[in-house]
């Protein structure tokens, strides 16, 4: 065992942690959270097991303002509606965008089943100068029913290990590639994950609101502790359409302090919409070879907002 590596590890750890200081309110925050958890626990003991959800929902509602409180009787029905919505939208194209911005990207099908061919357009990505700087498309076969073993671990991007066709267009350097490659993708809305959360009741109803002129139900997704490599999700709110029960908007906070708001739009696949999942490589751009196709891997990050 090389003592150079061991020394490097120790020095690296010391350097990494050298300036770290505890937040001055850590003890107070800890006590407050401990106290709140004990209150919920006592409430659940008083109400019985099924009351715990209502108790948690009650606290959540109190913390976030007046809203309609979901009763425990309504929760199973809501879960059923949410799951049915996923099934109904499986064959749609799912678009995402920052609120108020044009549709971009696209994933088809919206909720792919194992073995299905999937197309994901990333971009066009617009920089702070308003110009498109990157675009791309991934085409692959959705992995087997239990994709957990295919997920990468401890990489800062996380997601599924995949292989397939990767088209990348770089509008800054005027180059593009169309290669078979291995890549890692996180999914905008992963059906298996959402189903799991919904089926396990890992959400709390905050209340009702209006979004884009439609009635919506606001849910708080109960994000479990995550000690994975950063950044990762620490808080997640999802607004679903009160009629269709499809996701409309997601508010997410990350462990690095970033937060994002993402709107979801589900559209039926038409030939034109499917054709638009393919990025264009303008005339005059240089087509690159595929020697370095495995080198640059996409990172799971928020869409850099056009400023």
């Amino acid at each position: 065992m090389s003592s150079d590596m061991e020394e490097l590890i120790r020095d690296g750890m010391l350097q990494f942690t050298d300036t770290m200081r505890v937040s001055p309110d850590l003890a107070a925050r800890t006590c407050n959270r401990y106290r709140q958890r004990r209150q919920v626990h006592r409430a659940s003991l008083a109400l019985g097991t099924t009351g715990a959800v209502a108790a948690a929902a009650g606290i959540a509602v109190a913390a976030h303002g007046p809203a309609t409180t979901a009763t425990t009787k309504a929760m199973p029905a809501l879960r059923a509606h949410l799951l049915a919505a996923i099934d109904s939208a499986r064959g749609d194209i799912l678009y995402t965008r920052p609120p108020g911005k044009p549709l971009s990207g696209g994933q088809y099908p919206a909720f792919p089943r194992p073995g299905q061919k999937v197309r994901v357009r990333i971009g066009p990505a617009v920089g702070s100068d308003g110009k498109i700087y990157k675009d791309g498309e991934y085409t692959f076969k959705m992995p087997a029913a239990n994709p957990a073993k295919n997920y990468t671990s401890n990489l800062d991007q996380g997601g599924l290990r995949l292989s397939g066709r990767a088209i990348a267009v770089d509008h800054q350097t005027h180059r593009w590639r169309d290669c078979h490659a291995k890549f890692i993708l996180g999914f905008t809305l992963d059906a298996a994950g959402i189903r799991s959360e919904i089926a396990n009741g890992q959400f709390t109803v905050i209340g009702r609101t209006k979004l884009r002129g439609q009635q919506a139900i606001e849910l708080r997704i109960n994000v479990p502790p995550n000690n994975e490599a950063p950044p990762h999700v620490t808080a997640d709110r999802l607004l679903v359409n009160a009629t269709t029960y499809l996701p409309m908007r997601d508010y997410v906070r990350m462990s690095n302090g970033q937060h994002s708001v993402t709107d979801y739009v589900f559209l039926r696949p038409t030939p034109k919409r499917l054709a638009n999942l393919h990025p264009t490589s303008p005339a005059g751009y240089t087509k690159m070879g595929c020697a370095h196709s495995a080198g640059q891997q996409p990172r799971t990050r928020h869409f850099p907002p056009a400023q």
Partner: protein, 171 residues
């Protein structure tokens, strides 16, 4: 313990031991903020069990940090909610040397929790193999093999990271 008494006791504990524990937690979790979240969870367990703890509460919190870190991995949600995006390639200045120590920590956080925990205990906390085994509740043999695998994996990941950075620098 009455709430105020509890709060004061915890504040004393955090002021005396918190910094050291935060650094360990940050190495386990991968960042300062995630480390403080992890430490807060461990401190809550301390509040819950303080009366029953026999011995030094710092040892209890340290063991809890490692157990929570391992649990977090087992219950980890693998689903990502966010679209995968390109980022513009950062300008690479060949004159800037990659600090090897920084690179090692960046790949350390990519190790599986058990291997990461063992390396943090052995090289940051400077515990012996036997002490490490006691904290993690495993055998010395497990510590030895996790250490060897962790170091091997670090070398492998560091080499991949170097190749990727070189590939990006060429583009």
């Amino acid at each position: 313990m009455h709430y105020e008494e509890q709060r004061r006791a915890l504040e004393r504990f955090v002021s005396e031991r918190g910094e050291r524990l935060l650094r360990t937690a940050a190495l386990l979790a991968g960042s300062r903020d995630a480390g403080e979240d992890l430490l807060q969870s461990a401190l809550e367990r301390l509040l819950k069990n303080w009366k029953r703890i026999d011995g030094d509460p710092e040892s209890y919190v340290r063991r809890t940090l490692y157990n929570l870190a391992a649990d977090g991995w087992r219950h980890q949600r693998v689903r990502q909610r966010h679209a995968v995006l390109f980022q513009p390639s950062p300008p690479v200045d060949p004159a800037i040397a990659v600090d090897a120590r920084d690179a090692v920590v960046r790949v350390l956080v990519r190790l599986p929790p058990r291997q990461r925990a063992v390396l943090v205990l052995r090289y940051f906390e400077q515990l012996s193999e036997a002490e490490t085994a006691e904290v993690l509740g495993c055998s010395v043999g497990t510590v030895k093999s996790a250490t060897a695998r962790g170091l091997a994996r670090l070398r492998e990941l560091a080499a991949v990271a170097d190749r990727n950075e070189a590939a990006i620098a060429k583009e």
